[in-house]
C-alpha cells in the first residue's frame, strides 16, 4: 500500500501540530510549576531594566545597559519586551550569581518572561519537527530541554536561532545541488548567517552550530574541489554573521573591542575560577547530565515523562547512521560534545547546545534498534516453514539422558534462583522481614499481589511482613541509578576499560606475532601473569601503590619531592576525573592478558599468504592492519570482548579493594544495599543489570555477525 504524496504531507503536518501541542503543554506546565532556579533573578532584573528603557523611550540607554555583561544582551532584551504588558514592580536587587535562588520574585513578571522562553522553546521543537516529527517529539519531551526553555534562562533564544541557522544552511545546500553548480550566495545562506549572528548575540557557546556549518562546508568543498570559492564565501558568510551580532548587541557599540574582550575573558576566567572548581564536576559531567532526566524538582512534579536516559541511549546507537545520512547534524553533535567535554564549566543547561541533533540521532537509533529488527524478524518469519519438527521430537528422546543430570543441577541452583530473584524484586523484603521471608513470606506476598488480594505497598519495607510492591521499584530505581550518575559511570567504565585493554592486548599480540620477535615465549609468559593472579589480590597490589599516605607512590613523592615521575598522580583521591584514571590502570592490567591470548590465538589462524598478497599489492603496515588483519581477526576476538565487557560491567572486587563504595558499578551498589538489609532493592538492581547486559550482548553479537561477512578466501 502506498500513501499518495498529498496525504503523506497532510499526515506530516498533523504530526507536527501534535508535536507542537505536546511541546507547548509540557513547557507551560514547567513554566507554572518549576521553582525559581539560580540566575533567574539576574535575568529578570536585566529584563526589568530593558523594559524601563523601552517604556521611557530611552533608546541610547541600550548601549549602556547589560546586567551580567558576560552574556550578550539579546535574550535579556527579549525578556524585557515580554514583561512590558505586566504591571511594573520594584527592581530586583543585585545579588551575586552564586547566591541561592530567590523564591520571592514578582509572580507576574516571572510568568511572562518564562512564557516567552517557552514560546521560543516550542518554536525550536517546531523547526526540528519540520526535519523529522519524531525527532521533534523527542526534543519536546526531553526534560532538560523543557526545564531550560521554560525558565528565565538565556537558553531558549540561542537554541532556537542556532537550529534555525543549521536548517537554513541545509536548505541552501539543497538548492546548490539542484542547480548543479554553486552560483554565489543565495538567500538561505544569508539567512543562516543572520541566525548565527543572532545566536552569538544571545549566548556564545551556541555558536558551536556555526563551527559545525563551517566544517561541513569545508568537507563539501574539498569533495568538490572548490576550496578557493569556499574561503571567499565562508569569509563573507562569517562577516555577515559578525555584523548581525554587532547589530544586535548594542551594548558593544560604544567600545566594541574593549567590551567584547572583557565579556569573553570573563567566561574564560569564570570557567577556571573558584566557583566552578568548588562544584568539582568531572570532565565527563556533560555525559552524566545527558544520561539522566532532570533530578531536581519542586513539590509538584514539573515533568510528565522522564525518558531522557532512553533518548540518549537511542542516540548513541543512531550516531553512525546520523553521520552517514545527515552529516551536518552529526558534525554538530560531535563538535558540541567535544566542546562540552573540554570546556571546564559544566552547568547542566549547556547540554542544550546539542539536544536538537541528539533528538535526531535518537530517531535513527530507534530505527536501528527497534524498527529494523522487527522488520527483519517479520520477513524471516514468513520464510520459515515448519520443516523438521518431527525429527526434532525424535532428537529430544536421544538428548534427554544428556540433558537431565546437568539440567537438574542447573535448574535448581541457577534458574530457580534467578526466578526467585525476580520474584524478590517484586516485594519489599528487607532485614526486618527476613524471618517472614524465610518462612514462605516471599511466595505468599507475590501470590497475593499477583492475584490482586492485597494492595501494592511501599518500596522500602520496614514492617516485619513481606509485602508486595509489584514493578514499582523499577522506575524509581532507574531514576535513581541514572540520576546519581551511576548508570552512566558504569557504562563509561565498561567501555573505557574494555577499549583500553583490547587496545593493549591487540598491540602486544601483534608485536609478539611479528616474525622474528625475540623472547616471544618469555614475554608472553610474563604478560599472562596478571590474569593468573586473583582479581582482588591484583587490585590490592595496585592499591599498595596508589593508596594515599602509605602507598608506594605517596611515599616516593614524600621522599623524592614532586619532581618524581608520576607524582602528578598523588592526590588522585580528591579528584573524580583522576579516580577514573587510577582505577582504569589496574583494570587494564588485569584485563589485557585475556584479550592478548584471544588475539594471539586468532592471529595464528590467519593464513600467511593473505599478507603476502597484501604486500605484493603494495599495502603499507597500517592499511594491512586496518583492512586485512582486523577484519579477519574481529570474529575471533569479539566473543572475548563480549566476555570481558560482561566482567567489566559487573566489576566488583577492584572497587572493593580501593574502598570506593559510593562510585563503583551496579554490582557494588547491589552488594552494599544487600549488606544494609534491603534485599528486594538489591534484587531489583540485579534485574536491571541483566536487562542492560542482554541489550548489550545482543548488540555486540549483531556487530560481530556483521563483520563475519569476511571470509578467509
Amino acid at each position: 500500500m502506498k500513501i499518495p504524496v498529498r496525504y503523506g504531507r497532510i499526515i506530516k503536518i498533523l504530526l507536527i501540530i501534535i508535536v507542537i501541542a505536546i511541546a507547548w503543554a509540557l513547557r507551560w506546565r514547567a513554566v507554572t510549576v518549576l521553582p525559581v532556579d539560580y540566575d533567574e533573578d539576574d535575568y529578570l532584573r536585566a529584563a526589568q531594566q530593558y523594559a524601563a528603557l523601552i517604556r521611557s523611550g530611552d533608546w541610547t540607554g541600550f548601549t549602556q545597559t547589560n546586567y551580567r555583561p558576560e552574556h550578550p544582551p539579546l535574550a535579556k532584551i527579549i525578556f524585557g519586551v515580554s514583561i512590558l504588558s505586566a504591571p511594573e514592580a520594584p527592581l530586583i536587587p543585585d545579588r551575586s550569581s552564586s547566591a541561592d535562588p530567590d523564591q520571592t520574585l514578582p509572580k507576574n513578571l516571572l510568568r511572562d518572561a518564562r512564557a516567552s522562553s517557552a514560546v521560543l522553546g516550542s518554536l525550536e521543537v517546531l523547526l526540528l519537527a519540520l526535519v523529522n516529527p519524531l525527532a521533534g517529539l523527542f526534543l519536546a519531551i526531553h526534560t532538560f530541554t523543557i526545564k531550560y526553555t521554560s525558565q528565565v534562562m538565556l537558553e531558549a533564544v540561542p537554541a532556537f536561532t542556532s537550529l534555525a541557522a543549521i536548517l537554513c544552511y541545509v536548505r541552501a545546500n539543497k538548492r546548490k545541488t539542484r542547480s548543479g553548480n554553486l552560483r554565489g550566495m543565495n538567500t538561505w545562506f544569508i539567512l543562516s548567517a543572520v541566525f548565527l549572528g543572532l545566536t552569538a548575540a544571545s549566548k556564545y557557546i551556541y555558536c558551536v552550530a556555526g563551527v559545525a556549518i563551517l566544517i561541513d562546508w569545508l568537507i563539501w568543498s574539498m569533495e568538490h574541489k572548490n576550496l578557493k570559492r569556499f574561503f571567499l564565501q565562508a569569509f563573507l558568510w562569517g562577516l555577515i554573521a559578525f555584523l548581525i551580532f554587532l547589530l544586535f548587541d548594542p551594548y558593544l557599540w560604544p567600545s566594541p573591542i574593549e567590551r567584547l574582550r572583557s565579556s569573553v575573558s570573563f567566561n574564560a576566567a569564570y570557567s577556571t575560577g573558584t566557583h566552578v572548581q568548588e562544584v568539582g564536576y568531572p570532565i565527563w559531567q556533560p555525559l552524566t547530565w545527558l544520561s539522566m532526566s532532570v533530578p531536581w524538582s519542586g513539590n509538584r512534579p514539573a515533568f510528565v515523562v522522564m525518558v531522557d536516559t532512553f533518548i540518549t541511549l537511542l542516540a548513541v546507537f543512531g550516531v553512525t547512521r546520523l553521520w552517514k545520512k545527515e552529516r551536518l547534524y552529526g558534525i554538530w553533535l560531535g563538535v558540541a560534545m567535544v566542546f562540552l567535554l573540554l570546556w571546564p564549566t559544566k552547568w547542566p543547561q549547556y547540554i542544550l547546545t546539542l539536544t536538537a541533533p541528539l533528538s535526531l540521532a535518537a530517531v535513527y537509533g530507534l530505527s536501528a534498534l527497534v524498527v529494523e529488527p522487527i522488520k527483519g524478524w517479520l520477513s524471516r518469519r514468513k520464510e520459515k516453514t515448519n520443516r523438521d519438527k518431527k525429527s526434532n521430537l525424535a532428537n529430544l528422546r536421544r538428548v534427554l539422558p544428556w540433558l537431565i543430570p546437568g539440567s537438574l543441577f542447573f535448574i535448581t541452583m541457577a534458574l530457580i534462583p534467578l526466578l526467585f530473584e525476580f520474584g524478590t524484586s517484586l516485594t519489599n523484603l528487607s532485614s526486618a522481614s527476613i524471618r517472614d521471608g524465610l518462612h514462605g513470606g516471599i511466595l505468599r506476598a507475590i501470590w497475593q499481589g499477583l492475584t490482586g488480594q492485597i494492595e501494592v505497598s511501599q518500596i522500602t519495607g520496614r514492617s516485619n511482613q513481606v509485602e508486595f510492591t509489584g514493578l514499582n521499584a523499577f522506575p524509581y530505581l532507574i531514576n535513581y541509578i541514572s540520576g546519581s550518575g551511576l548508570l552512566f559511570f558504569n557504562i563509561m567504565w565498561t567501555l573505557l576499560s574494555v577499549f583500553l585493554s583490547t587496545g593493549l592486548g591487540l598491540a602486544v599480540a601483534l608485536l609478539l606475532w611479528q616474525k622474528g620477535t625475540r623472547f616471544g615465549r618469555i614475554w608472553q609468559a610474563l604478560f599472562i601473569l596478571p590474569w593468573a593472579i586473583p582479581e582482588y589480590i591484583g587490585a590490592l597490589m595496585w592499591f599498595n601503590i596508589f593508596s594515599p599516605e602509605v602507598g608506594w607512590l605517596a611515599l616516593a613523592v614524600k621522599r623524592f619531592g614532586p619532581n618524581f615521575p608520576f607524582s602528578f598522580f598523588s592526590g588522585w583521591e580528591s579528584s573524580t576525573s583522576f579516580w577514573l584514571i587510577v582505577l582504569l590502570i589496574p583494570a587494564v592490567w588485569y584485563g589485557f592478558p585475556f584479550l592478548m591470548l584471544a588475539a594471539s590465538a586468532g592471529l595464528k589462524m590467519i593464513p600467511s599468504d593473505v599478507f603476502d598478497a597484501a604486500a605484493i599489492d603494495g599495502a603499507d603496515g597500517w592499511h594491512t592492519l586496518r583492512f586485512i588483519t582486523w577484519p579477519l581477526l574481529a570474529p575471533l576476538v569479539i566473543p572475548a570482548i563480549i566476555v570481558r565487557s560482561i566482567f567489566a560491567f559487573n566489576q566488583f572486587y577492584l572497587f572493593r579493594a580501593f574502598f570506593v563504595f559510593d562510585n563503583g558499578t551496579m554490582a557494588n551498589l547491589s552488594y552494599e544495599i544487600f549488606y544494609n538489609g534491603q534485599y528486594a532493592i538489591s534484587a531489583t538492581i540485579n534485574m536491571a543489570t541483566v536487562l542492560i547486559l542482554i541489550g548489550f550482548v545482543v548488540l555486540l553479537n549483531r556487530w560481530s555477525k556483521a563483520s563475519e561477512g569476511v571470509n578467509y578466501a
Binding site: 538428548v399 582482588y536 597490589m541 602509605v550 592490567w589 599478507f611 603476502d612
Partner: protein
Amino acid sequence: MRKIPFWRQFFTQIVLVVIGLFVILPIWGMTRLALDASLIGRPTEFHLFPKQFSFETLLKVLDKPYQSVNFSVLLKNSLTVSLGAALIAIILGASLAYAFARFRFPGRKPGLFILLLTAILPPIAFLLPLYIFLGVLGIRTTLLGLIIVYAVFGMPFCIWNMRAAFQAVPKELEESAYLDGAGILTTFGYITVPLALPSISVAALIAFLMAYSEFAIGWFFVEKPTTLTIAMAIYAMVQTQYNSGAQPWSYLGSLALIMSLPVVIIFLILQRTLLEKMLFGNPGD
C-alpha cells in the same frame, strides 16, 4: 614474510620492556612487602627493595596467618571448595554442553538464552536465593554449601566454553565410532572428551580460579573460622587493617603471594593450551 629489521626488533623489545615493567611493578610492590622483615604495621618509607630481606614473615604466615586458623586449614578449605566447584561445574556442565552442541531439540534456543542469561548475571544475584535454599537444605554454613555456590558461578562459563569445544570435534569421527558399534557413552568418553580435553581443562581452570579467589559472596556462607578460605582470610586482614592498622602489611603481602603462586604456576604450565583453546563460540547460533 621477511624477518623484521634490526631497528624494528629494537623498538619492539623496548615497548615490550615498558609493558613488562607495567606488569611487574605491582607484583614486585607486594613481594617487597612480603620479604621485608623490618616492616611493623604500615609502611612509612619508600624502598624499592626490602630493607631487611628475610623469608621470616612468609614462613610465619604458613604457620598461623589469620586469627586462630592454621594455614593448612585455610589451604585445605580453599582447595576443597575450588576443586569441588570445578568438578561439579565440569561434569554436570559437560553433559549439558554436549547436548547443546550436538543435538537439535525443541527448547534448544530458549535453553541457550537462559544459559547466556545466567552467564551475564552478576554473582551477587545468586546470593539471596542460594542463601535461603541452602539454608532450607541445612548445608548453608558447610563447605559443601560453598562448593555448590561456586559451582553455580562457574558453570555457565564452563558450559559455553565446552560447547564450543564439542562443536569443534568433527562429527564424522563420532559417526564412524557409532558405525563400528560403539555406544553413545563410549564414543563420548573415548572420542569426544579426549579431543576436547584441552578446552575442558581451560574451563576447569577458570571455574577453579573463580572459586579460589571469591570471598565477598562466600562471606555470607561462613559462620565458623574453620570453613574460611584463603581469599576470605585476606579480605578479613584488609578489613582489620583498615579499621585498626594493627596487622603488619608484610603478612598481607605474604599471604597474597602464597595464594597467587600455585595458580601462576598452573597458568604457566598450561600457557600453550590456554593460547589455543580459549573458545567461546557464537552465542547466537
